[in-house]
Symmetry: C2
Subunit: 369 residues, 2 copies
């Protein structure tokens, strides 16, 4: 087994566990910063480690287009290429084919599409998605799935589930690396019956971990929060559960409450680049003129570089002056915030007070419970 | 005295010394990375310290426009504002008024100009330049000077020297901070007689340090190299000498050979952002396709983050993919290169082999000696 997973504490459906991968241990629930093109934008691995990052996500679609997975393999794999020696999870590339590439055409064989970089006609099949991720050498690879739009026609969602199951089976057969775990993805949109059917088939194939897909695509958050407990309960109790591409801090809390163990999202870094900071007291827009003279740190007690060394006034100045250091410091802060949130959730689960922890967070953020 | 300066070793005209400022010690000869808008673009103070940065330069013109020197003073001064507790030198703002602002009009009173940010009509006088830098709280402040274009008419150069002397005197009279040293600037263009006259007058005013101005402005490098020994010799032997805005690695060596102690230039960071790296074997263009598969570090033995952790292939990828981390890592590398060059020069001066050191560098770079 490439990975092992042990649940140390439970609190309702929420779990706190330890995922052991070929590149080290990951305490769950965990947030995985997104390193799309073999870099979390603007940050060194050292900076990511300084705020407690345990595992990164890499994007198969981007990396196979540029610099190419064969080249990364030749250079020793993604870990060595980007100078990150802790765990990495890679997605299958399917989601980006549907969202970024143009003229994507999907058949049972796979997806044909044009590169968003140079328009080249390319194909991504289940087998190819496995081979690319084996070249990348991630600790956890995802099967290729079909992820229809949130508001898709029921017949289309049903067909995407059929194809997702077909592709999961082909991915599993093609997978060879014993130092890499392959996770399956449950689709089914908003149809719980379909999701249950999809989960049942995938569980029968016995993957070492399972993801819930399709929740980052145009789903309305309250519907997702309502659906999560039942969807998570469809997955094996003793294996890691990953909610793909989600989301806001309150969505992570809803996921943990439902029994999810792993999350990824571009929100902390993308918002950080746009001067929006997450804090325990709710979001802070650093471009706002009220921060111009504020000598206080963005967030007291936060271990990130910016909060330890500079003021809100300085961060405001960096964004006003269009200086790179603004996006850098705020990306790092937001990742630190997400990681602190997950660390707090782990402790709360361990102490049997996750419900109070989550309610307290939501009250402080001013977010709807 | 705000600063003390001791020369520990000499080798020909070259010197190795120690400059002690209110925010700590600086070993000379020294290169000062440029932190124009209260940040060296893309780098944290921690990263700057990791490669041995001893002192930074801040730009008075930019900082008085945004966020404003009064605001920086209110927030505890430039060191605290930007989270850098080591020495800082600030320029007077004059050079940027002439090069960046529009409609600059110079009289004996000072310079009137329009802000390059919002077009506001502003004035920079000698007194104002002193006050701004006292608000910033730099360890070393520069007097306001007039820096005519390199190819300026002799009468214009002569008038600029007259005004530079007038302004230096007014700056000295206005200066009050005892924890800040004020350096004078020798102008005179390519006319050594004028430079000698300017230096003689300034030396009589007894400043704690002296700069050579006007060498970064359209001067041809070989003429500068030829003029430097005589120009540096015009300055007091026992005080720090600063060659403003210069330059390429070979220019720094020529400066050290001539007896200059301090340098600043945007070249390492600006070139770094544009994928050009300085190395002991000469410049390397990381966008060049030949680096695509190169597993070697940019420069073996370099202590910068990129050279310790990633390959040329990875740096090439970052620039191809337009990722912020490329400019960040290469800016840091180039600063590390300039600092290593100055550290090597200090050691060589101490061991009486600076000539051989400089010749060896030039031969390895393939630069004209």
């Amino acid at each position: 087994m490439a990975i092992t997973f042990h649940i140390h504490h439970r609190d309702g459906a929420a779990r706190a566990g330890l995922l052991v991968t070929p590149h080290g241990e990951v305490e769950t629930p965990v947030f995985m910063p997104v390193g799309t093109q073999a870099t979390v934008k603007g940050l060194t691995p050292e900076q990511l480690e300084s705020v407690g990052t345990q595992i990164l996500l890499g994007n198969t679609y981007h990396l196979t287009l540029r610099p190419g997975d064969a080249l990364i393999a030749e250079l020793g794999g993604l870990h060595r290429f980007m100078g990150w020696d802790r765990p990495i999870l890679t997605d299958s590339g399917g989601f980006q084919v549907f969202s970024l590439a143009s003229q994507a055409r999907i058949t049972d064989q796979g997806a044909r599409f044009r590169s968003h970089i140079d328009g080249a006609l390319l194909e991504l099949t289940p087998e190819k998605a496995v081979e690319i991720q084996e070249n990348l050498g991630s600790d956890i690879a995802m099967v290729l799935d079909e992820c229809p739009p949130g508001a898709a026609d029921p017949a289309l969602v049903r067909d995407a589930v059929r194809r997702t199951l077909l592709w999961a089976d082909r991915c599993k057969r093609r997978h060879t690396r014993r130092d890499q775990a392959q996770f399956a993805i449950v689709q089914g949109g908003t149809d719980l019956g379909l999701r249950a059917e999809c989960a049942r088939e995938l569980v029968a194939m016995d993957f070492p971990g399972y993801a819930l897909g399709g929740f980052s695509v145009g789903e309305d958050p309250s519907a997702m929060h309502a659906a999560l407990p039942e969807c998570a309960a469809l997955l094996p109790e003793d294996k890691p559960r990953y909610l793909m591409g989600v989301g806001r801090p309150e969505d992570l809390l809803a996921g943990v409450a439902a029994g999810v163990d792993m999350f990824d999202c571009v929100m902390p870094t993308r918002n950080g680049r746009n001067a929006l900071a997450f804090t325990a007291a709710g979001p802070v827009r650093l471009r706002n003129a009220k921060h111009r003279r504020d000598p206080a740190p963005l967030e007291s007690g936060c271990p990130c570089y910016g909060c330890r060394h500079v003021s809100r006034a300085y961060l405001h100045h960096l964004f006003q002056a269009d200086e790179m250091l603004g996006p850098i410091l705020l990306s790092l802060h937001n990742i630190a915030f997400y990681l602190r949130l997950m660390a707090g959730a782990r402790r709360a689960v361990g102490e049997g007070r996750f419900g109070a922890f989550a309610a307290g967070c939501l009250a402080r953020w001013g977010a709807p419970a």
